[in-house]
Assembly symmetry: D3
Homo-oligomer: 197 residues x 6
């Protein structure tokens, strides 16, 4: 029975490791070079550790390792539900999308701890989950800049929207202000693609 | 302005050519070898031509070339909406999924003809659109058997469900009975994977 | 026996789905990201539908769906013969190349309808087959521009030659003149690469 | 200056995301489908969370989230040093290899926290770092079984050695005994490949 | 001018490095994992060295290093002409195919030495060129066995035909008899696929 | 027994054909498009033939075919040891690295001739092995320029270092001066990336 739990988890992780993020694919990034959901969560987790460390050096109370754990799990429901793009999420309503994801996670993820971390991310009511939100967007922004460098210009739409998203979060919560000095250059690089059409 | 329509269509086709079907990816098929939506529609169209020809030889009135045209377009909305998997489609309701897809197509596909073909497929109220449904499922079944041969055993779930689906359609419409002699062997191969767990 | 026909067709489609076009490969496009013959025929078919629609709106009599069916099949012989590049086609003579392809198709393609569509394309004696010729070249031109954007500069040779080819066909048949307004911008983009060496 | 730290970290993560593990490549796994170092660390982190949860349910004191953070970083030095295979590690001596890795990490990883986590892993003197060692080997074992299923039989050597390695660790530390019920089936699957030559 | 020769050679080598062999592609091997012409010539060259060494140990006069040089060049004309499959070669006639290849090589390969080596291979009138023929077929046989192991069963046709080809050459030239002890096992493995249909 | 030698050699060549060079991977080149060790040796061998021919035309005594044979084998030890990057080679000491490689080759490469060629390369005490050193660096330089064109800017570091390396060797041995006219343009292209940071 414990073995079955591990086997089910391994199937979920396998899906996360072989499924690229839909946003890249729909913008012309070739599947053979498209970032997977697992790779995205990996980068988010590393960035959460570093940004968490930075927040602490500014005197903000946050647990970077807890944030990293949240980051590792934050998109895990996509192993069952798939990576639903923004257009569809808006068309179906953000609440419905999240409800479907959480339900799928509850049914399929064989670990109370993993599930709790995922639900914390969806709820967005802790400092750590907020931090993961930023780390997640920063990871997407950085990857979009890589693809733009490799000639995938349609991706600039994502560079713009994630830069705007990070900027907005930093403006909305005074505790995060100390991340500006680290993030501003990347935000600026992303915003440069907003004017272009 | 006409140029812009072509440019928009080219963007849609590009997305269809670089986006693999989610069903394969979530079952561990590597992105570098995963069938794209465009390739799937291509195979569906070829099969629709051949099965349509067969139906005609049985005296059924159907236009294989019209079916091929429907097949070419039947998943085109996924260029905007993404390829939503069965689990999610069921969780959100098939009607909502189809409504979002048709709306996306109406907004983004710059051709009245293409749009009409897609809507015909969704409505499923012509012999040709029914034929495309079979061709589409047969294409999925054949591709799943290829992946199983290459060692992707999780895909057997799809082999089973598509075989069952084709069988059910053939049972449900007497005009299609004449396709049995062509399809039965593939249906049997797919059904073999239903018992396995 | 019917089953065997389907199996043979499935083998042919498989080859078309896994074989990239030689023109890209020989110009340094990596196999993992090179457009397959099937993907090319797919894009040609979609473009044929749209350009056919446009011709009709100019009062030209043409059946876009018939053109799409031709497009889906036009390179199918390459599943047996391989994708023979221009250099070799010229060295062996265009007639020999076409004869070998048609013979291969006759021997291997298990469908009278598919074969008829392919032969119509080779004969180039209907409005629809001419339309597919344009759609096929436009598809190649558009894909070449994508590769150029991704840094594959050797491909510019193909951008130039297909732009010239489309231009020539439009000049040669007055009925096609109405496509200029849609195609001129792409032709111009392609021609820009003719002067560069 | 803070920006530069982020830029340097992004370069390191990029390398981890594009570099497959050498062990797979040298055993004939194609680069296009070979697991990257980042994907391996991702799977290790998820497994560390779940196994840590299990240990806690057995009354063992361990912080699963801390273990996950260690897992995320444990191979990060390979972004500079490369993934050195067992043969070479043994030839040069395990100490030298670790010294080079730690020195590289100290010079290049722009985060005190990340560095501390990596050093904890190398030292192997906490419950969490021991747990990551198991999770890392389990991740390798599971991935080797996937490759064997896909026909890469040379990989069975790794399935055997990691299964033996996990078994040995479980035998060596009584606190880990409670993981047996979860891990035994995977260990057995791996050991099955030891006898084969 | 010398620089231009190097640039032209680099273009040819680039094509050989990015173009997979058509035989694999048409039998369903995915482009992302298909052996390139360059990789095939590489393996042929290594095998030529080893088999040449073996021949010498049997007292046969042959220069293994000269054979390796021939092997490195033997398919270089395919960078211009493409990799023409057996079906097409037979349809157009082997002589025409070789004439086109040699003419292409003469026009495009900017090195007298490389050209001479290629012509020696085509002429098949030296011990070394005969040895390369065997090495080339052995390389194809070995690669086909790898693909069969990975589940590409259509490739067995090539395993059979190359095994038969090697066997025939060994029978045809008494000097090569000493290679039997090395090659028989591989020949047998290939022949096993001849009976299967 | 002879058969076993061939089987062992085939395993080594397989590893060389599926293992990309670490230098590309660590600089962000995607595995699916990264040059393998075999492809690198192939290009080195072709360049060695051509540069050897050039040296001879300048009256320098050198055997281009012997150089090609050395080139084909020069990195073969990496099939066992892996491709150790410059950073690590320097950290462990060049002598240790070479000793490990030569020992691995002696143990695993089942051919006296291949081994002798490899040892000649490591010793760098013949004109041919020196020529292969240049060809090897030129091959790396040319490939780095290709990747830079495709948007992988981190690779410019390698373009610079190989250009400097070739320049230094040409300066160090008067017999090689005659290669300047062929190589200077490539050296210049590489050096252009030295100033950039």
């Amino acid at each position: 029975m414990n073995y079955m739990k591990l086997e089910r988890l391994a199937k979920i992780v396998e899906a996360l490791k072989t499924t690229p993020r839909t946003g890249w694919l729909l913008r012309g990034v070739y599947p053979a070079i498209a970032e997977t959901i697992a790779a995205h969560m990996y980068e988010s987790a590393v960035l959460a550790l570093m940004l968490g460390e930075e927040l602490r050096s500014c005197g903000i109370e946050v647990d970077p390792q807890h944030a990293a754990a949240v980051a590792i799990v934050h998109d895990a429901a996509e192993a069952i539900v798939g990576d639903i793009v923004k257009y569809t999420a808006e068309a179906m309503g953000k609440e419905l999308k999240e409800r479907i994801e959480v339900e799928a996670a509850r049914k399929e993820i064989p670990s109370v701890l993993l599930l709790k971390l995922l639900e914390e991310y969806v709820a967005q009511n802790t400092m750590e989950s907020e931090l993961v939100k930023i780390a997640e967007m920063l990871s997407t922004l950085i990857q979009s800049l890589r693809y733009i460098q490799h000639g995938f210009s349609s991706v600039s739409e994502i560079a713009c929207s994630t830069a705007q998203g990070i900027d907005k979060i930093l403006n909305g919560d005074i505790r995060l202000a100390c991340l500006r000095k680290t993030l501003q250059r990347y935000i600026d690089m992303g915003l440069r693609y907003c004017s272009k059409k």
